[in-house]
Amino acid sequence: MFKRLYILFGSLLGLSLALAQEEEVASGIDAAINRALEPAANFVSGIIFYSVPVFGVDLPLVVVWLVVAAIFFTVYFNFINFRAFRHALKLIKGDYENPDDPGEVSHFQAIATALSGTVGLGNIAGVAVAVSLGGPGATFWMIVAGLFGMASKFVECTLGVKYRNENADGSVSGGPMHYLSKGLAQRDMEGLGKGLAIFFAIMCIGGALGGGNMFQSNQAYQQLVNVTGDQASFFADKGWLFGIIIAVIVGIVIIGGIKSIAKVTEKIVPFMGIVYVGAALIILLMNLGQVPAAFSAIIGGAFNPQSVAGGFIGVLIQGFQRAAFSNEAGIGSASIAHSAVKTDEPITEGLVALHEPFVDTVIVCTMTALVIVITGVYTQEGLDGVQLTSAAFAQNISWFPYLLALAVILFAFSTMISWSYYGVKAWTYLFGEGQAKELTFKIIFCVFTVIGAVMNLGSVIAFSDSMIFAMSLANIVGLYIMAPEVRTMLNSYWDRLNSGQIKTKAERLQAAGD
């Protein structure tokens, strides 16, 4: 283990020594890396976000792809998003637990881990981008996209559990790579399945490096600079330094295997999430008078936007795009985490996963958007991403930016840990299992952490977005093909549930006692 740490430390130390010797060109380093990578980032995002002009605005086809899938699955499964809302809560609480299961991965643990990967800077900074580009109306479409996206998540997490690999040592490996290859092979579409799985794995690596890594470190760095004095900050123009510090800490966890840091983070993140939502609610209460105006701005902006590029469609796109990036419904990544749950009924994990986009988008993202709209900061020029959110909160709680900086760093960190795991899974799927292969990816991951802190938000977002959305290209094809299977499973489960065959834990204990 130490040998790996030495390799990492050695390379990062060498890099930082080289950079430190030329401190006056440190800002040049930032700019140089930016210049080098920006064209590549823009090229890739240009392909993924290929747009067609609709009513005078560019509509990215991939957003259509995601939204159509979400709406289709919602209807195909008869609005399971809402039908199973309460039952899913009971599953998460453990009401239907098997008495032999304690000690295994519970439904709550699966969704909590998946959420810690999904709730990240997209909820804080991404929403700010959406509202600044699309106006308050983007909030409305974001919520709509979140509600529909629940169905996509339902399908992919059910399939993730159904087609997972259970290894001899008891560990499990699941996710789109597995359900695409195994599921389609069962339908005589082995070649297609394999091809989709490989395409997904490649895009997942890109997503892990982009949205799960670069974007997180970028925005965490921005917020840190923000609260430490902007241009006067010690950290200003030292993105490379911040990047290296975070890369080292991430490296200690994922390469060094020192889990204690990750464990501590996993415990703090939910707490910070609650604090964040709580603070947002307090701000809403403090501005109670403006709430009706904010709501009418949101609804009005959703259907009749003023001075927004692209008008109605533009607003719609912004809302949908941010929701998709934030809650990852249809992307397939969360099904990797959800697939570890212990259950005999894969459909139950799909039902549990319904709550993930709900918590992520309908609750957390909406809170961010409401604060930004109510405080009116989105009209201010020059504020972007996490700076905008920070300014919004600061209006009522002047010291909140410091807490936000802490929250942002923790959210970013936990998202990076989760995505490094997803990335490793994709990498080993492509290149085979093995310590050396895992280490290679993990080092690449840490290097990209540094790069992300250094680049401009625009290019980082473009690249991150495009990789993440590209994962859905393969994933959703598989979801469409296997949807009938999931419907059969759902109908069977729902019938058995309604007829009383599926017992709650209380009922089971009572029956055993009789």
Partner: protein, 144 residues
């Protein structure tokens, strides 16, 4: 039908005394002993994705460890008392698990040590024994 005495153990010396005390009572009354070790686990704990992946293997090793380090040695010690001893490892919160097990196995009494392995843990997190006293549905005998 002969009585069952449920004994909770965490491997501490106090738990051993509780088990021996229970065995003597069981021998006198012709009852059998049900020896239970609880691995602290919460359904609401937070794990990293890697821990989730290997949870089943981890659970098995926790159970094995409890069996070899706590239950088997204790069962050995009690074997001289010619009392029937059954053992079980379960995950959960100790006090809740013991209460549930008492009901499931139809135990007439629970025997438990007054304090466990770590006094500091007890001071910080509360005593399993005290919680058990408050929640159990059968008589509880606390052995110092």
């Amino acid at each position: 039908m002969p009585d069952t005495f449920l004994v909770g153990t965490d491997g501490s010396a106090c738990a051993e005394r509780a088990a021996e005390f229970a065995a003597q009572r069981a021998k006198a009354e012709g009852a059998s002993i049900f020896l239970a070790a609880v691995v602290e686990w919460s359904r609401y704990a937070f794990y990293t994705p890697e821990e989730l992946e290997s949870r089943t293997a981890a659970k098995k090793s926790e159970i094995d460890k409890a069996n070899t380090q706590v239950l088997e040695p204790l069962k050995e010690k009690l074997s001289s008392d010619q009392v029937k001893v059954e053992t079980l490892v379960r995950h959960g919160h100790a006090a809740d698990v013991l209460s549930e097990l008492a009901e499931q196995e139809g135990a007439s009494q629970i025997f438990i040590g007054r304090h466990g392995r770590s006094r500091i843990e007890q001071a910080l997190f509360g005593s399993v024994t005290v919680r058990l006293l408050q929640s159990a549905n059968v008589p509880v005998t606390v052995v110092p």
